[in-house]
Symmetry: C3
Subunit: 228 residues, 3 copies
């Protein structure tokens, strides 16, 4: 059957692919995984794309090293998954999610629409990342973290300089539209209030707010407020 | 004529549809409405999409309950309109606008590129929402409101907890990149300064600025400044 | 050969075009330029689109005045380049970049994914703009400027009123998620700290931070910190 889009002859597709999807290189789409219309999987990294641009007889498919998507995932329309990405099982992506080469997403995590993992980014299991979040190269996000909409993480304290990734400890909560500066380590079970600018490390189990963000209450007190 | 894309046999198309559009379920596109290339209309809600993913013989078209778009609207490329959405007449969407199930957009409103109505969101008439705005489930926006670029509204004060929508009163102005916390009610004719973090209700006809946002001047004084 | 997408008979294509691209009007794609799948080039301005919507026998191609893209550029998937745009040589666009009519981008500049030049915007040479940046009508960006992710520039101090563009001087650095208010002039070699709200002009060679942003150190001191 003729169909729009492009599926590499090297790809292994065990899931359900809508019309007009582009799958490059030795990509693997797991069992019962749904890939929506207008999605790219196994998109070549910048370095490999440059070869296509410079060599007449190459193609995205030739240079792609493929991406791996687990079982029972959902990849909605306009998402772009680069090559060398590994996505676990039961992962759900919104629309327009961008995941660059070498990133990993743990099982059961959910990523909101137009969020970007813009470099090698590691996301744990059972993570919830909402829409329009920006995570640059070398960001690490622990298990069970929650990141609100429009959160921005940076990796360069004095642009353009040395890249230092941000680490977000397990079970932390990062409030909407907050900004986390390069190199910051956010301890486990911490909370960053909405709109905060985090310039220094946050100890575990601590709630910080403000610009620059300062300790406010403990996670225990936060949970008491939440229960009310 | 063979064409790329997908138009449901259940859809009623009275407008002008470019090539390569996907229209699912009993969707209705009004008279003189323009739907651009690479747009989805009537996209099934998460709940209904799950049926497609789990049942071999289903499809997006089968489970979609359809969307309704009025007359003389413009829907630009990469926009995604979920099912059970109702859009009035003379509405204009930028590129990549995301409108989730059960949302409504009143007549003559304009929504900027990559803005998300991410849940059941109600937008009044003659509203202007600029680009990259995030409005979550249960947000209500009154008539003639103006929302600047990159504004973030939240619906969960202590994530992950109870959802409380934000209400933005008629004729209010919400400045660029401001953050409005869950449950806040912004009175009619109010103004939120750019970059503010709104943690408490805003009385009618009041201009607030800062983090947290506090009353600054009245709407009358604001209008005097604006006239100068 | 039949292919998906649309290439105007008026377009001059010297580069490499993937499948399923839409190129309208007398657009020019330079030598060795790569245009990815699901891209629009020469998209008509709102004013010209209105003619298509209102006239039965018109089309996007008929009304488009075409865009010009130089040599050795990369235009990644989901990007939209309006008509009357001029892009220099060796320019690189991420995914989903939106460039509205009459904008210009100087040679060797790079624009991040889902960034918007939302009106007539002028970008110098050797500029780096990261992801999800919003630059409205009349913004001017000098040579060698660096703009971090999610930066928002505005052009209307008292919406909805008079439009005044922001000018960002050469070699300036604008930190992530900062907001620059309408009419502000940022001097050459200045730095705006991440998350700042810039309400007043910034003198040359000055680092500002905070909300509202105030002078903090000199660019020379900043460079000393950066070197450490």
């Amino acid at each position: 059957m003729s169909r729009a889009g492009y599926i590499s002859s090297k790809a292994m597709i065990h899931g359900r692919i809508e019309e007009d999807v582009a799958i490059y290189g030795p990509s693997r789409v797991g069992k019962d995984t749904f890939v929506d219309r207008w999605v790219q999987v196994g998109y070549p990294s910048r370095e490999r794309l440059m070869k296509v641009v410079k060599l007449d007889h190459s193609s995205l498919d030739n240079v792609s090293e493929g991406a791996t998507i687990g079982d029972r995932c959902i990849v909605r329309s306009f998402s772009i998954i680069y090559d060398r990405v590994r996505i676990g099982d039961d992962v759900e992506l919104g629309h327009g999610v961008l995941v660059r080469s070498n990133s990993t997403i743990g099982s059961r995590s959910r990523i909101g629409s137009y969020t970007q993992l813009d470099g090698e980014v590691h996301i744990g299991e059972d993570v919830i990342i909402q829409s329009l979040v920006y995570l640059p190269h070398l960001t690490e996000v622990g298990d069970k973290v929650f990141i609100g909409p429009n959160v921005v993480v940076t990796n360069d304290k004095y642009p353009v300089g040395t890249i230092q990734g941000v680490k977000i400890g397990g079970r932390s909560i990062i409030g909407a539209n907050s900004t986390i500066l390069a190199g910051v380590i956010i301890g486990e079970d911490s909370v960053v209030g909405a709109g905060s600018i985090v310039t220094h490390d946050v100890p575990p189990s601590t709630v910080v707010i403000g610009a620059p963000a300062r300790p406010y209450i403990s996670r225990k007190e936060y949970e008491e407020k939440r229960m009310k």
